[in-house]
């Protein structure tokens, strides 16, 4: 056996068989003493007792040799570690105030970090629940770096036919549809998927089978896979669901499989029922809106796929050239992870940065406390040094103490983190996959690692000080507390901690203030209409009896008349989409006859809403120029369009838009639309967006699902039963959903910025609080150390205000220096916030001014109490106490 291996094994045995070895050593030494005593007894004729005593004296104390022996055995450190921990725990127990505040501060920091880490772990680090999710892509169509949209059936089929990069391709059309399993139909998310969609993702149902390629064949029986929740809520559970029939939008599907509980969404699209998609052969390039996913072949990179798709695009372009002329539109692959996680990483980075700052401030704070404590107990430490404890031993003791504190902080922090994650799920911004985050083992390990790092950082200074010989001489013992804790270096260091705390807190406060400022502005933005007294609702007709356009228009006309007759209803209109719809908005491309875009370039797009004439009245949108729609505007050979003020201003800045003509949807053979009016702006996507838009009258192609907008005279929520009854009186099986007062849609539209701002503000408040505690602690210590000096000053006639001023100035100097450093950092860091801010510059002077003033006021308040205490010192007592101590 190699000597080093043998030695390692011996050490291992020394650790694992500690008691046995200890016993053996004891036996050996006892035997030695017994034999020595027997010898003495024999040779020198001593009594057995004397002999034994002499033998023991000669030996010099068994325990001491055991110790030396243990040292050689290499287990001494373990015994000492136990001793250190016991000692540290005792020492910490003797100063409960210090221990409690240090643990509380660290728990705050570690808790915040753990909560955010858990979210990061779920949202960013974890994988999508599909095998080899890094090989999955979604394909979009893109005609400029900023404009991309989902695909059409024509695109999907072109890709399927010509691609060379993918093992499989799948299509999903997601929609809200009335679903019934025997009872009243309910509107819920439904995905129409090809069998390739399941194959591409690699998702197989937990019960039954998935959609297979035979299900795509013409004439096959319609089949569907349902979510776990749907099976439990509507079909009596997972196991009995297969074979049941589910009616989706008037078509009966046989359930063939149930998905695992974790698949509430597929490729980021939510769905309760996944029905097999029957793809009719396309007649044109559009309509778009299909999710197309693909799995990359082995060895194919995203760039390879992009080149392959470009080739497919050119080939496809030729096929539909007659009706689709945007030859810049290219099929592009985007990693599915990026699609599903979306904007999440940026929000997450913001929170991560915030908690890292909080954690650093917490560490600086506790380190400051530790310094004060180290100064206070220098006498004790020096005494240990004099009594023979080695420097390394004392250093280890101090580090053990700070690690003990921070581990306790970690335990409390993990508890706080668990609460924090719950809180974030409730008040946090909508981040993809947030609901999947929990404080897992990863996060707990992270918290413990964080605590160890924090413990080392906190314990570092007292130890370094020791290494420089602080405890070596008797100076520490003789000079009392003042000599070491009061050194210039320690003072400077404590000041540096305070400066650092303020420097770290300022960027956090600045970010919070900017986000809040931006949120307040966003809240003040007019959506372009009066949201009070407006009720919105989604209405869907069953497909069976409403197959024709006539049947549908008859229902809608009669239903509108009934709704208008409901007491408390002032006006009612229909539209195919509502304001503040986010990214689900329908847009259309158009080309102005006066100024057509050059051939081959992309046409401009704008939100495109199809409405009945009363829609504007019901929503409270005003006519600014021209006229509203009338019942005679029925499309045909003279189609008309109304545009928003911003649209008119953008495309006809110098003259009126009324009377101009355009073609829409790339339909060159259709008669051009004439602009007949300009109305006030409405925010269709989100509040921060450009309020452009165009409206067409709803005359044909009514569709089975429309949004109803009702203006009420009283509380809009109170009108829901009456309006619902009116809609059902015409057709009892109509599906009603999302009956919401407009004001609620409005506040939901600003929920995300509100949540982001309030979370960052929470972190910032914690940071400011910690910085205040830091300055308070340091100044209190300074005052207690300078009692005598202050006493002398007062005795010599210094005014009490002067003393107060001296202490406050000291605190403010640190705070101001910290704030100045923090300002520089903040100005660089907040630039990154730019895209999250609305109408606020990342360097907004007013916001920054307010933050600096606020932080200095906090510093002033924190300095005030120690300063008052300094001024209240009784000179005689202070001087006497110091000279006798």
């Amino acid at each position: 056996m190699h000597p080093s291996i043998r030695r390692a094994l011996r050490r291992l045995r020394a650790l694992t068989h500690r008691d046995t070895l200890e016993q053996e050593l004891d036996d050996e030494l006892r035997l030695h003493v017994a034999l020595e005593a027997a010898e003495l007894e024999r040779v020198h004729n001593l009594s057995p007792d004397d002999a034994r005593r002499l033998a023991l004296v000669a030996f010099g104390g068994i325990e001491r040799y055991k110790e030396a022996h243990r040292d050689a055995r290499g287990v001494r450190w373990l015994d000492e570690l136990q001793q250190d921990i016991r000692y540290a725990a005792r020492a910490l127990g003797r100063s409960p105030a210090f221990t409690a505040s240090a643990i509380a501060i660290l728990a705050l920091g570690i808790g915040a970090c753990t909560a955010v880490f858990s979210v990061v772990d779920a949202v960013v680090i974890s994988h999508l629940p599909y095998p080899h999710d890094d090989r999955l892509i979604q394909i979009y169509e893109r005609n400029s770096p900023t404009n991309q949209w989902p695909l059409s059936v024509a695109d999907f089929q072109a890709i399927e036919q010509w691609q060379r990069s993918f093992t499989s391709v799948g299509l999903l059309r997601q929609t809200l549809a009335p679903v019934s399993s025997g009872g009243e139909p309910q509107r819920m998310p439904v995905g129409y998927a090809t069998s390739g969609f399941f194959r591409t993702l690699g998702v197989t149902p937990v019960v039954g089978r998935g959609l297979g390629s035979t299900d795509d064949a013409p004439g096959a029986q319609p089949v569907a896979v349902v979510s776990h929740r749907f099976a439990v809520d509507h079909l009596g559970g997972d196991t009995v669901a297969v074979g049941r029939s589910v009616d989706v939008d008037g078509v009966a599907y046989t359930v063939v499989g149930v998905l695992d509980q974790r698949y509430t969404n597929l490729a980021g699209r939510y769905g309760e029922v996944w029905a097999d998609a029957r793809l009719a052969p396309p007649e044109r390039r559009g309509p778009f809106g299909m999710v197309v996913v693909a799995r990359l072949n082995d060895g194919i990179t995203l760039d390879d796929a992009a080149r392959d798709l470009e080739r497919v695009s050119r080939r496809e372009f030729v096929v539909w050239q007659a009706t689709f002329q945007d030859h810049d539109a290219m099929l592009v692959p985007v990693s599915l992870r990026r699609v599903v996680l979306g904007e999440a990483p940026k929000t997450i980075i913001l929170f991560s940065a915030a908690v890292v700052l909080v954690m650093l401030i917490a560490i600086a704070n506790v380190a400051g406390l530790m310094l004060v404590r180290a100064a206070g107990r220098w006498r004790e430490v020096s005494l240990r040094a004099v009594l023979g404890a080695t420097r390394a031993r004392i250093a280890r003791l101090l580090v053990t103490e700070s690690i003990l504190v921070s581990l306790a902080g970690a335990v409390a922090g993990i508890a706080l983190g668990i609460i924090g994650v719950r809180v974030m799920k409730v008040v946090g911004p909508q981040v993809a996959r947030l609901e999947e985050s929990h404080v897992h083992v990863h996060a707990m390990l992270f918290a413990v690692a964080l605590a160890l790092v924090a413990g080392l950082m906190i314990g570092a200074y007292p130890v370094l000080h020791l290494a420089r010989g602080g405890a070596a001489g008797g100076g520490g013992v003789l000079g009392g507390e003042r000599s070491v804790g009061g050194t210039r270096r320690a003072h400077a260091l404590r000041a540096a901690f305070v400066v650092a705390e303020f420097a770290l807190a300022l960027p956090l406060l600045a970010a919070a203030a900017l986000l809040l400022n931006s949120f307040v502005r966003l809240q003040r933005v007019s959506p372009g209409f009066d949201p009070a007294h407006v009720l919105t609702m989604s209405v869907a007709l069953p497909s069976g009896r409403y197959a024709t356009d006539t049947a549908m228009s008859t229902y809608w006309t009669r239903a509108l008349n009934n709704v208008r007759a409901v007491p408390g209803v002032a006006a009612a209109g229909l539209a195919d989409q509502l304001p503040l719809s986010g990214s689900n908005l329908d847009e259309n491309n158009f080309d102005l006859l006066d100024r057509p875009v050059p051939a081959g370039t992309a046409q401009p797009v704008t939100p495109w809403t199809v409405i009945t004439a009363d829609y504007f009245t019901a929503l409270g949108v005003r006519l600014l120029e021209g006229r509203m729609f009338t019942p005679t505007d029925t499309g045909g050979q003279h189609p008309v369009v109304i545009v928003s003020r911003s649209w008119a201003h953008k495309y006809f800045p110098d003259g009126t838009a009324v009377g101009r003509k355009m073609v829409a949807g790339g339909c060159t053979s259709c008669p051009p639309l004439t602009i007949i009016g300009v109305v006030s702006d409405v925010m269709y996507t989100s509040l921060g967006d450009v309020p452009e838009g165009a409206y067409e009258p709803l005359t044909e192609g009514w569709g089975r699902t429309l949004a109803l907008v009702v203006r009420t005279t009283g509380d809009p929520a109170a009108a829901i039963p009456g309006v619902s009854a009116a809609l059902r009186s015409v057709e009892p099986s109509v599906t009603l959903a999302d009956a919401t007062p407009m004001a609620e849609r409005f506040s939901a539209a600003i929920a995300d910025p509100r949540h982001a701002a309030s979370l960052v503000a929470g972190f910032a408040l914690v940071a400011a609080l910690l910085a205040a505690i830091g300055i308070f602690g340091t100044l209190s210590y300074t005052v207690s150390m300078r009692r005598r000096e202050i006493g002398v000053r007062l005795a010599l006639g210094a005014k009490r205000q002067a003393v107060t001023g001296m202490i406050v100035r000291r605190g403010m100097a640190h705070a101001a220096l910290g704030a100045a450093l923090g300002l520089v950092a903040a100005l660089i860091a907040t630039r990154w916030l730019g895209s999250k801010l609305f109408e606020v510059s990342p360097a907004d002077p007013l916001t920054f001014g307010a933050v600096i003033v606020g932080l200095l006021i906090v510093a002033l308040a924190a300095s005030w109490a120690p300063a008052r205490r300094a001024a209240a010192i009784d000179p005689a007592e202070a001087i006497r106490a110091e000279s006798s101590g």
Binding site: D27, E28, L31, H32, L35, F59, G60, A68, D71, A72
Partner: protein, 111 residues
């Protein structure tokens, strides 16, 4: 009592190895043998003996086995004996010691 000399640093290992050349001994017997062989001049501090034994064992020069000791009335005792490495080590240390002591002697004799 006779005058006793402190052991020179590093010579204890050599002396322990020497006492074990003739056969296995337990700790107390090693210290007694040392005393006898040096005519009571060399007294091994027991406090250094046991750590030294452990150290030598750790280096693989001696090995320890539990046995019974007749002189202790059949009590359990730990017997140390030389390993092959230990014998080599003893030879090496002995020649080094001789070299060293002759050199010191020579220096002291010089006028």
């Amino acid at each position: 009592m006779t005058d006793r000399a402190d052991l020179l640093q590093g010579t204890l290992d050599l002396l322990i190895l020497k006492t074990l050349v003739l056969g296995p001994l337990h700790g107390w017997a090693i210290s007694k043998r040392l005393r006898q062989l040096s005519d009571d001049v060399l007294e091994v501090g027991q406090g250094s003996l046991y750590p030294a034994l452990y150290r030598l064992e750790d280096r693989g020069w001696i090995r320890a086995e539990w046995g019974t000791s007749p002189e202790a009335g059949g009590r359990r005792a730990k017997f140390y004996s030389l390993t092959a490495d230990g014998r080599k080590q003893f030879a090496a240390e002995r020649s080094q010691w001789r070299l060293f002591s002759t050199a010191v002697e020579r220096v002291l004799k010089a006028t």
